[in-house]
């Protein structure tokens, strides 16, 4: 973004054409156009403020739908299989979430289930609810601002990728004692994480909020 120099520069500029950096409050004029793959960064603290990608909404929708399908596949197929001294044991992703379900640790099971399954799925659904009408050229969904705000607020609590690294650590820990065979759910969940990271790289908050705003005016 252009580096603001003095107060006079902002005199008489309509509020619509100004943006404040959420991280340091520096005031900027909204650039008239930011190229796809280019970034507008805050002139003061360096935070990325705008990073549009062309065709982003269609891609986000495609990737979110893919991620939902992968999650269903991951939940309903074998996850890990353990063999030691001729004995077998296996666990699904739900089993991992329910590992704390005995007695007073039950709330932790619910939290783990929320972190690795419910919140990631909810975020995907909220993003689809927000973006599908906009791409289809219809007015924005009535609750699109609430839905997208919630999707953003839940972002730190969506921990599917941390779970995948957790699986890797657990595998290293049991590697010497037993043989672990990853099942289809393991690969589906890994792919899900990859697709989600890719989807997040297409998400530009300014672009989405501007589209919701424009979609509401119709």
């Amino acid at each position: 973004m252009q580096k603001p120099v003095s107060m006079e520069e902002f005199a008489g500029v309509p509020l619509d054409e100004l943006r404040a950096c959420p991280h340091c409050d520096a005031l900027h004029r909204l650039p008239s156009h930011v190229r796809s793959r280019a970034k507008a960064v805050c002139g003061r603290c360096g935070s990325v403020l705008i990073a549009p990608r062309s065709g982003a909404f269609t891609r986000i929708i495609a990737l979110a739908a893919t991620a939902l399908i992968l999650m269903v596949a991951a939940l309903f197929s074998p996850f890990l299989d353990l063999t030691a001294a001729g004995m077998h044991s296996n666990a699904s992703i739900l089993d991992a979430a329910m590992a704390f379900s005995q007695g007073i640790m039950l709330p932790l099971s619910l939290a783990v289930g929320a972190f690795i399954i419910v919140i990631p799925v909810l975020r995907l659904l909220l993003i689809l609810y927000t973006l599908v009408p906009l791409v289809a050229g219809r007015p924005a969904a009535a609750r699109a601002p609430v839905a997208f705000s919630l999707a953003e607020a839940l972002k730190p609590w969506s921990m599917a990728e941390i779970f995948v690294i957790g699986v890797a650590v657990a595998l290293v820990k049991v590697a010497g004692l037993a043989t672990v065979t990853p099942g289809p759910a393991f690969w589906a969940f890994g792919a899900l994480v990859f697709v989600t990271v890719l989807q997040d790289s297409f998400m530009d908050k300014e672009q989405i909020w501007a589209a919701i705003d424009a979609g509401r005016a119709k």
């Binding site: 100004l18 959420p22 340091c24 005031l27 657990a170």
Partner: protein, 198 residues
């Protein structure tokens, strides 16, 4: 550098849109507006103490209960790392120590340091504080990995009487400690870092 506050405006921290000072909520995304979050540091400290208190039982009580035909062992976070070390797995022991002890303690210290040193420029510049905050915010959620490892081990190692791993109560307090410190970082209003800049 002109801030929204200097210009008599208030910026939305959720979507970046700018409004006249005194506007209660953003007209684009609906977020409540405030030029500076005055209660930010109070909430940071409240969550910080909650996180620190929850971190104590996380270290005193067992994280994993391993039962085999011959023995029952309970291992705490540090105890588990020491066992790995004595077993010869120095590398894995170090990783466990860094992920479960060094990073959480560093996180507590970093948040406290930010809250105490804010606007004390002889200690740390704005850019360095901004960087430190970004790192703390980024790394916070990754501590939950320990809880997931316990969940995976406990759900996987179930050879009836021969060998079974059960989760220990420390997993609950560790998860709470991570969630509370995440809340502490999320409560921090980074805009106050820059307020004294000329």
């Amino acid at each position: 550098m002109v801030t929204a506050r200097d210009a008599g405006l208030v910026g939305c921290t959720r979507c970046g849109r700018v409004h006249h000072m005194g506007t209660p909520a953003c007209n684009r995304c609906g977020a409540p507006l405030s030029s500076r979050d005055d209660t930010s540091l109070q909430r940071v400290w409240a969550w910080w103490w909650a996180g620190l208190i929850a971190y104590i039982p996380a270290n005193l009580y067992p994280m994993l209960l391993t039962s085999t035909l011959v023995s029952n062992t309970e291992s705490t976070i540090v105890g588990g790392a020491v066992e790995l070390f004595l077993h010869g797995d120095v590398g894995v022991a170090l990783i466990v120590l860094i992920a479960s002890v060094v990073i959480p303690i560093a996180k507590f210290m970093a948040i406290a340091f930010l809250a105490v040193s804010i606007n004390k420029r002889h200690i740390m510049g704005e850019h360095a504080q901004h960087q430190l905050f970004s790192v703390v915010e980024f790394i916070g959620r990754w501590s939950m990995i320990d809880v997931f490892v316990v969940a995976i081990l406990a759900s996987l190692v179930r050879f009836s009487v021969v060998a079974t791993i059960n989760p220990g109560i420390a997993a609950v307090s560790f998860a709470l400690s991570v969630a509370f410190t995440m809340q502490a970082a999320l409560s921090f209003d980074p805009r106050i870092i820059w307020d004294d800049e000329k």
